[in-house]
């Protein structure tokens, strides 16, 4: 995972393995807002309103603003699946917010019954080439 700064905030760029991607549909009934209908700070870009919350060109690459929708901490990555401290036993990998214990899956969707009310924001972004991403800008223009 790569962390870059955008508008003073961390943006995570995470390349997910096929196993990680396969875990996402299993979480649909465990997350609070599986289809990202709720808005936190940025409107959900239409091109990312899908199961993987990513652009079609690279479904495996997740781009999100790493700021928890509860009180603005940056969650830590807990990618290893399985039982571990502070996480449920059926953990499939994701993020844990150290401040108030909100958990997010590998599409940065918040689990139910956590302090955070909504999923992490997906910023507008687009691929300049296969290996270059621009954040804050897409076909519709600058954010």
């Amino acid at each position: 995972m790569k962390v870059v700064e955008w508008r003073g905030k961390p943006v995570w760029i995470l390349r997910r393995t096929p196993d990680m991607l396969a875990s996402l549909p299993k979480n649909d009934d465990k997350v609070a807002d599986p289809h990202s209908d709720k808005v936190y700070q940025l409107p959900m870009p239409e091109y990312c309103k899908n199961e993987t919350r990513s652009r079609a060109e690279h479904k495996e690459v997740l781009v999100v603003v790493g700021i928890c929708s509860h009180l603005g901490c940056s969650p830590s990555s807990r990618f290893a699946p399985g039982a571990q401290p502070n996480l449920p036993d059926d953990w499939t990998g994701g993020f844990l917010c150290p401040c108030h214990g909100s958990t997010f899956d590998l599409a940065a969707r918040v689990y139910k019954n956590k302090p955070a009310p909504s999923n992490l924001d997906v910023p507008p972004y687009m691929y300049l080439s296969d290996t270059r991403i621009v954040i804050g800008k897409d076909e519709k223009g600058d954010a």
């Binding site: 401040c99 214990g101 019954n113 009310p117």
Partner: protein, 468 residues
């Protein structure tokens, strides 16, 4: 207004007496001293618990003096703040001592103030006619929390940064205006140089000014109505031939000596901490705060400094599932008020409407907002104590024995909440903190009833006092 009258002293009177006479004719120096301390008659049966008022005063002075010296070397600039604190620690002569005194002083202040409040709770010091003393004291507590919070950002370490981020975002949970409000407080979209500068202004000038005013009001109100005592009886009801209460002694020299002894013991402990354990195992100064602020990474274990953790636990306990418990609790409380209270029908109706709005609100608004509401209420509810306590006696000494267990359960819930606030949240810990949150609020909200129940012991006419 009487005409100006010059005090006439014999020509051979000591120069000091003449000087004092000259001042007293122009400024009520002796009068102020006598009213506020010298001839202020305080009950003679004060015990250990009555030292913390004076100690709080001492720590306030320590904080102001060390703060002045820190300000001489500190730079409130996001790029230089962390470095300037390290500069104080390593380069400024005795800078480490001044800084450790200031940081240990902050924790000492809260320890003293919590003990001072416990005293008030045990002996009913907030009861009529001392409601305003309690309210001024409560306002001082709020100022201290603000002071501690603003001050904690200044070292610009990781905990400074993320602590400020979380607390400022608390305001963001308020519906409609929240985001604008937190933007206004921060002065930027993220915690930044603008935030640091304004927090510095609040920490060094705005809050201390208010704090000093409130301390003066707290003391003036206290010396107006007179101190309470561990027996919770009014010593002024029993005056001696000299017009002073028979159970009281002048503060000077009696309590001056008493307080100086307390100060010595306190300074021994305080110095031990300053010199040997200024970080106090990460409780007084958190380890992560020795890492410069990084806006891209939250430390993996984040918790506020210990004095905020009980209230922080209440915030964290408020999850979506817990909202149903809260709705049931609010509904139950309203039913209880209708059945058990002697309030006017109109008041009951208003309470019912407010409760109904709250229950509807709990379904519509996010748990995040209610967490902030509970967090705020857990602090604000302290202000209501004088009006919640209906016990016929003030002091715990003459209350039914089972009241002591009520206080014990309350104390344990508060300490447990405090401990859990320092730990990472787990499902089990969350359950415990939810239980403690309910106990914490029940203690206050049910107080009008439980405080009158049971058989009270007879209160003596004179204070309990054994001459040494």
């Amino acid at each position: 207004m009487a005409a100006f009258k010059e005090t006439k002293l014999p020509a051979d009177a000591p120069a000091a007496d003449k000087a004092l006479g000259w001042i007293d004719d122009r400024f009520p120096l002796s009068k102020l001293w006598n009213d506020q301390w010298g001839k202020y008659y305080a009950p003679k049966n004060f015990n250990f618990w009555y030292i913390f008022g004076s100690l709080a005063m001492l720590v306030l002075v320590l904080q102001i003096v060390t703060g002045i010296f820190l300000t001489m070397h500190y730079k409130p600039d996001a790029g230089m703040a962390f470095g300037s604190v390290e500069y104080i620690m390593r380069e400024v002569p005795w800078g480490w001592l001044v800084r450790y005194m200031h940081s240990t002083g902050a924790s000492a202040f809260f320890i003293i103030v919590y003990l001072h409040m416990t005293r008030g709770l045990l002996y009913g010091s907030y009861r009529k006619p001392r409601e305003l003393i309690w309210l001024f004291g409560f306002a001082i507590f709020l100022c201290l929390m603000a002071e501690a919070f603003f001050g904690y950002l200044l070292p610009w370490g990781q905990m400074s940064y993320w602590g400020a981020q979380v607390i400022v975002n608390l305001f963001g949970a308020i519906p409609f205006v929240g985001d604008t409000l937190s933007l206004w407080i921060r002065g930027d979209y993220v915690v930044s140089d603008a935030t640091l500068n304004r927090f510095f202004a609040f920490h060094v000038i705005a809050i201390p000014l208010v704090l000093l005013g409130l301390v003066a009001a707290h003391l003036i109100a206290l010396h107006e109505v007179g101190s309470s005592n561990p027996d919770g009886i009014e010593v002024k009801d029993n005056l001696g031939p000299d017009g002073h209460p028979v159970d009281s002694i002048p503060s000077h020299p009696y309590y001056t000596v008493h307080d100086l002894f307390g100060v010595s013991v306190f300074l021994v402990i305080f110095s031990a901490v300053v010199f040997f354990a200024p970080e106090m195992g990460g409780y007084f100064l958190e380890y992560n705060n020795f890492i410069p602020a990084d806006s891209l990474k939250t430390p993996s274990h984040i918790a506020p400094t210990w004095y905020f953790t009980p209230f922080y636990s209440v915030l964290r306990a408020t999850t979506a599932d817990f909202m149903y418990v809260l709705m049931a609790a609010v509904a139950g409380y309203v039913v209880f008020i209708w059945l058990k209270s002697r309030l006017a029908f109109k008041t009951k109706a208003i309470i019912a409407v407010v409760a109904l709005l709250m229950i509807v609100g709990m379904q519509i608004l996010e748990a995040k907002f209610w967490g902030v509401v509970l967090f705020g209420s857990s602090v604000m509810i302290l202000a209501g104590l004088p009006w919640l306590d209906h016990s016929p006696v003030k002091s715990i000494r003459y209350r039914p024995d089972w009241h002591k267990y009520v206080y014990l359960v309350f104390g344990l819930s508060f300490v447990t909440l405090g401990y859990l606030g320092t730990q990472l949240p787990t499902p089990a810990f969350t359950m415990v903190s939810q239980l403690c949150t309910l106990l914490y609020f029940s203690f206050f909200l049910l107080m009008p009833w439980w405080s009158t129940m049971g058989s009270f012991k007879p209160v003596p006419n004179r204070v309990t006092f054994h001459p040494h």
